[in-house]
Amino acid sequence: MPIKNYSEKYRDWKPQTVFPQRLTIFDSIVLTAFTASILSLIWISYTYTGYQWNWDLLSSLIVTTHANGHYILGILLSGVIFTLKLSIWSLALALFLGGCIGSFSAHKKGPAALFVRFYINTIRNIPPLILLFFLYFFVGDMLSFENLAMKIYSLPLILQKVIALFFAPADQFDRMFTAVITLGIYEGAYITEIVRAGVETIPRSQWEASSAFGFPPLMKIRLIILPQALASIIPTLVSQSISTFKDSALAAFISLPELTFQSLEAMVISHMTFEVWIFTASVYLLLGLACSHIGKNILSHTYKWRAQR
C-alpha cells in the first residue's frame, strides 16, 4: 500500500466534538432526565438527616496553615501528590516495558515469543492486588527492598531531598518502589498487547518494503512501523493510562500514603465519610480526564505530523 494514501486519509482529520450543532428530541429527553436526577440527588443528600455535612472541615484537610503562618499541604493534597508520582513513574515503566516488548514481539514465534506470552498471560490473569502483596511481602522480603531504603540515609542530604521530591522520602521508599514495579509490570502486560496488536495491523508489505530498502531492524520499527501503528495504539493506550491512575489506589493496601490511604486516614480523624470520598472520587475523575485530554492532543499531533509527510 503506498504511503500517499495514508497522508490523504488523515489530512482532514479533526478531533470529534461532543456537542452537536442541533439537539434532537432524543438529546433533550436525555439531558432533562440527567439534570433532573442530578438535582434530585443533591436535594436528597441535603435533606437526609442521618448525616451531618461539614464541608468546611474538608478544606483544612486539603490545605492547612502551619503554626508559623504559611500554608502547607493537608493530608489529602499530599496524598494527591503521592498518587501523581506513583502513577507517572508506573506509567513510565509500563510504557517502556510495553513499548519494547510489544514492538519486538510482533509477528514473532519461538522461545522468545513464548516468554512474552508467559509474561502477559501470567500477569494479566493475576489480580493486581495479589501481585502487589506477592511483591511486597514475598519478593520484597527476599530481595530486601528495605535495605535499599536504609542505603538512602547514607546518601548526601541534597540527594535525599531530590529523591524525596521526585520519587519518595526514605521512609516510604521500599513501598513506593514495590508499588511502581507492580503497577509497571501489571499495566505493562496490557500495554505490550496493545502495542503488539497495533504493530501487527501494519500490513506485512510495509515490513517487506522497509527490508527491501535495507533498514536495520531498529530503524525499521522506529521510522516505518511505529509511526503508522501509533494511530491505532494511542486511543487504547490512553484508556490503559487512565486505568493506571485508578489502579494506583491499590497501593493503599501496602500503606503507601497515596490518595486512597490518606482518605481512609482522613475518615478516621474527621468522620466525614461522604465529603472525603466525594473529594477523592473527583480527584481521580479529574486525573482521568486530564489524561484523556493529553492523549487526544498527542493523537491529533500524530495525525498532523503524518499528514505532513
Binding site: 442521618g50 502551619h66 521512609d171 493496601f253 500503606s255 500514603p257 490511604f261 486516614e265 478516621v268 465519610t273
Partner: protein, 264 residues
Amino acid sequence: MKKYLIMFLLILLLFPLHASTQNSSHSMINQVIQHGVLRVGVSSFIPWAMQDKNGEFIGFEIDLAERLAKDLGVTLQLIPTRWAGIIPALMAGKFDILIGGICPSTERNLRVNFSIPYDYALIEPLAFAEKTKNLRFPEDFNNDNIIIILRSGSSAIPVAKKLFPKATLRYFDDEAIALQDLSSGNAHIFLTSAPLPEIEEARSKGCLKKLTNAPLVRQPISFAIRKGDYDSMNVLDTWIRIIKEEGWLAERKNYWFNNKQRHK
C-alpha cells in the same frame, strides 16, 4: 518440548542466587543502633495514634515511640500501616517494632514475640441508639437478629464470640468504615476499645450510645517484634518497666485518655 524444559530449569537455577541476600539473625536493637533509625509500625486509632490536620502523627503510642527512639539515641521513623496486614508487615521486616495496640494472644504469639504490657485495652459496646433503645444489655443481644460490628483481627472478636454466640458478626478492616456502617443503622452494636465509644457518643449527638459503663473485658497491650530476638525483647521489657516506675507512662495515658478536649 525438551528445549522449553531446559529453559524452565535455567529459570529455576536463578532462584538460589537471591537466598544469600537474606538477613542473618542479629539483634534488632543492635541493627537499629547501627543504622541510627528506629522503624515503628503504627495504625491509626483514636487516641492511640492518629494524624492531625497537618499530617503529623500524634497520640499515646506515638509518644511512646518518640520516647523509645530518644532513649535509644536514634531517629524515629513512623510507618503507618493498614491494620489488616500489620502483623505480616512486621514479619516481613517492613519495620522493627510494632506499637499498634496489639493484644497478645497465643495464636499471635506463635508468629511474633510480645513485650510485657505497656497498657490495657477496655472493650466497650457502642450502639446505634434507635435500634437498641428497647433492648437490655447484655441479655437481649445474644440473639440471631442482632448484628455486631467488629474490627477484623481485633481482640474484641473472641469477646463477642463468647458473650453473644448467637448474634451475627460482621467484620471491617477500618474503624472509620465500621463506625459509618453503625451510624447508618446497618448494625446494632460495635465492640471496640475505650475511649472510642465515649468520644463517638458525644460526637454523634444522640445517634450512637455507649451501652454500659462497665467494660466487657480488660486486655493487655504489648509491643510486638519478630520471633526469637530475646536481646531486643529484654531491652523493650526493661524500658517499659522504667517508664512505668517513672510515672511517665501513667502521665501520658492520662493526657490522652482522660482529657476530653484532646478528642475534638
